[in-house]
Amino acid sequence: DAGITQSPRYKITETGRQVTLMCHQTWSHSYMFWYRQDLGHGLRLIYYSAAADITDKGEVPDGYVVSRSKTENFPLTLESATRSQTSVYFCASSEGGPLTFGSGTRLTVV
């Protein structure tokens, strides 16, 4: 019962490449979120989704794209990766209350 899974756990990519981070949850939670974590900034919201086909920008959306065609999946795409997008990315889900986080993806852009 993985609950919420992210893949890959680690990713190294080159500047300018497109990369997609995957997130899958098994609870049928309505809400899903993508946060990035950087030292000194805590967790900052990139995008969120209230339901399938409903997504909206968070605090730091530039350079990212999301989709949610199915309730259980919420992939995050970096259209053209930049070094400033080197970070740890966490997916989370909820039913409006406390968030449950995935294990994270550590992304390095070189």
């Binding site: 979120f33 805590g42 968070g58």
Partner: protein, 115 residues
């Protein structure tokens, strides 16, 4: 926009000492949540406070929500090495009165416990 500030950013203690982290919001919160992230891990929900002046305890951890519902604190009594990690507070992000489950996190307090 809404800001959630947390202090201190770092805290080093000897095992057995007490620890406190403080959280302040620029806006009144309907609730406040606390999360713990172990080194190399992901944030894990600890507790949610809803009522003004509420105090909740979990073993050695005491959580408090301010009377004005704009500040909160987490106090750990007699720290242990298992308490190591980053502690985050978080409050609902308001957008026209509806948060859609979004949370604004404080920057976190990184706790180191020396045995």
């Amino acid at each position: 926009g809404q800001q959630v500030m947390q202090i201190p950013q770092y805290q080093h203690v000897q095992e057995g000492e007490d620890f406190t982290t403080y959280c302040n919001s620029s806006t009144t919160l309907s609730n406040i949540q606390w999360y713990k992230q172990r080194p190399g891990g992901h944030p894990v929900f600890l507790i949610q406070l809803v009522k003004s002046g509420e105090v909740k305890k979990q073993k050695r951890l005491t959580f408090q929500f301010g009377e004005a519902k704009k500040n909160s604190s987490l106090h750990i009594t007699a720290t242990q090495t298992t308490d190591v990690g980053t502690y985050f507070c978080a409050g609902p992000s308001s957008a026209g009165g509806t948060s859609y489950g979004k949370l604004t996190f404080g920057q976190g307090t990184i706790l180191t416990v020396h045995p």
